[in-house]
Amino acid sequence: MYSLILAVAVRYTYPLLLLFAAFLFLKGHNSPGGGFIAGLLTAAAIVLSYIASKRSPGDGPDRFFVNLIGFGLCVALTTAAVPVFLGYPFFTHTFGFVDVPLLGKVELASASLFDLGVYMVVVGNVVTVIRAMTGQ
């Protein structure tokens, strides 16, 4: 069910959607958003690109999204585990502010890394399941 209009539309909206996902991810610290929502949006964008394109989602780099799940779990777990070796309890998060030219005061939080792990797991999960169900 290939539609030229959809394909062309997706060509331009796809990067925008990913950009919006990145925006939601970074925005999540202080207003609605965060890794989970950004992950779902990214996954939806990828699914949309599958729907729009001619090829079946089953094609393409096979293990990438499966690996993404494991990688995301590792990132999340590492973020949680590192404090133990610094003498703090498991899952102790920290944050601080740095001055970046042009941007001004930017907040850096270790929780963002954990959020990144959540993001990767969510993207990997949704895309893996959809690909598995559709790629026969």
């Binding site: 939601l24 999540g28 610290h29 202080n30 207003s31 609605p32 958003g33 965060g34 890794g35 989970f36 929502i37 779902l40 949006l41 996954a43 939806a44 699914v47 949309l48 729907i51 989602p57 499966v66 799940i69 494991g70 995301g72 779990l73 590792c74 999340a76 777990l77 949680a80 133990v84 070796f85 003498g87 703090y88 309890p89 498991f90 899952f91 998060h93 944050f95 907040e107 939080a109 929780a111 954990f114 959020d115 792990g117 959540v118 797991v121 969510v122 990997g124 999960n125 949704v126 893996t128 399941v129 959809i130 598995a132 169900m133 559709t134």
Partner: protein
Amino acid sequence: MGAVLIALLLPFAGAILLNLFSAPRSARAGWVASLFAGASFLAVASAALGGIEQPPTLYLPWAPALDLSLSLLADGLSLLFALVISAVGVVVFTFAAAYLEPHEQRRRFFCYLLLFMGAMLGVVFSSNLLALFVFWELTSISSFLLIGFWHHKERSRYGALKALVITATGGLAMLLGFIMIGLVCGTFEIPELLGRGDLLAASPWALPAVLLVIAGAITKSAQFPFHLWLPTAMEAPTPVSAYLHAATMVKAGLYLVARLGPIMSPLPLWTPLLTVIGIATMVWCSYLALRQSDLKGLLAFSTVSQLGLIMSMLAAARPEAAAAGLFHLLNHAAFKGALFLLVGVIEHEAHTRDVCELGPLRKQMPKTHLLLALGALSMAGMPPLGGFISKEMFLEQALHLGPLLAMLSVAGAVLTAAYCFALAFGVGRGRKTEGASATATSGAEAPHDPHFSLLWGPGLLITVALLFGLFPQSLAGALVAGAVEAAVPGSSLHLHLSLWHGFSPTLAASAVALGSGYILYSRWWQTRTPDNPLLVTDRIYDFKLEKLESWSKAVTVSYMSGLVWRYNTIILCVGVAAISAVFLCFPVPQLQAWPARSPLVFEVAVALTAIAAVIGTCIAKTRLAAILSLGASGYTLALMFALLGAPDLALTQIMVETISVALFLAVFVFLPSWRPPETRPLRPGHLALSITAGCGACYLVALARGHRTATSIAEFFIENSAKLAGWHNIVNVILVDFRGLDTLGEISVLGIAALACYAAIKMAPQRS
């Protein structure tokens, strides 16, 4: 203590780096892994040479609320085990690097092996019972992965599963025991527990704790009646057998007995039960070893039997006995590790490890055979090898155990000597099998000594076994004495290890054991037919496993019918029944009104739209309409969230709805044919159930809303999210910080679910 932490972390770091940066079949993987193992060994050695620091612990909080810490303990006992683990580790890693064929998945193999090494070091360095358990189970899991490394072989999978089932079950029993000990004594830290043994002794939980901890120890160390998993675990690649199933993992049970001895040995049953199990295992399994035709099977049973010997010594918690056990443990790691590696070499060259099919090894592989014979003689207790001294010490201690156990010990030593002679002389003879070996090797090249890269490892271990015999005091004296001090605190033992003890009853017993062993070997073993008896326990295990599988299949089939309406019926029925039961058993509070504003017009409109969409789903004429209608109900729900001031929920709901609709459309083609609503009979039962469940849910929500007894936790989050976490979005702070552990659990479940889905669809047999 820094060195100990480094030694513990290096293998894990190696496993991760190898996984990230190596090709699956990389030839270098083995050498890189060996480097990490070697560095870990150096760290342990430097910790050991630096002497025991005071206090010998390092405390890292892990989850203080659960009394769980990653605290490390490096006393004599830990260091002795850690030295064995890392030293044998280095030999095995380098051996395996040369041993594995180029087409094997080396990255995976060395990853697991490093993981195992780290876990094992964790077991011996943990000073917290709960952390010890975590590492303990990690060794079980890495052992499972390594036994099943050649997973295309059915026997490998069987052996791996069996080892996991038995050791993990034992591990869980042990955890229960640990929890009892920890709750009674008020701490999970081993050094603190040592002073609180009397608390445990006075508690009614003492006996169950003893039994449960023993269950953990004897399943891990494959003691009778759980000796069944070790022989089938021999399907693992030989370096794995040498490392896990001879030198290290199976000794974790011994470590546990030695480590907890000071707390547990004053309790009833601990010493007698473990002593009897140890001696019984030693005798029975050395007899079984004699009946094997497979070299690895023989070595497996001999390992179990030797572990029984050490177990009986460590259980006594007397300094002399502990010294005998620990020195034998050192010897055993050296000679048994070497023997396994040598059997690996033989299999590599001769393509068989059946005693009856092997040709005249002494002529074909003289160096290998010489090492094999030396190792076996050390195990038999032949002077001047290290095994002689520890066997002497064992017999001396066994004479204190009472006439029956002493006689059994000597009988065990006789049988041990017999199978060792069989290993040393019987295998090399190529006796009565010239015909068989001729057919086995015809056409192929005759087996010959392998390249140096495969021989130096076992050679080194045998040299160590020899040196343990010649210079026991200078090589192992301090190590064993330090370990005894930790295993039996407050003991004043002047340990002097030496080859010659003078004429004593022990020497006579040793001579009798060796002599009778040789007679047994020459008169019986040489003429017997090996029959590889099937163990009774094996049959019980198989029977239980089969029953378990058929029962769980029957149960699963009874409700997994593949009909969604049936699943929903079961879920709703159980939910309604459970909640009704609660209402019947406990007083039901009155439904109370709560302060509420009157709903706004557009809120009512959105709610009505949602209801209309749901009804539309039920009466849709086509499936596409039903899917879209369902999606519409979801989107209106999102709108409702947005209106009620939950933008995060609204965003999530929109995303989830979008993806579910896409998913529905994607699997559209594979769904069964659609039946229009008018052809579907309305089932009154289903209707009643739906209404009950729906109204019940509404009632519950209303009831709960009017009965808030505790103050809302939301206030805490609102106040502290920016202060403690630095972010203002409370929802996200809860997700990734305040309740991050929950999220970690959730994303793990997400990951597993996706993998299961992937595996179920991709790897299912293709339906035509």
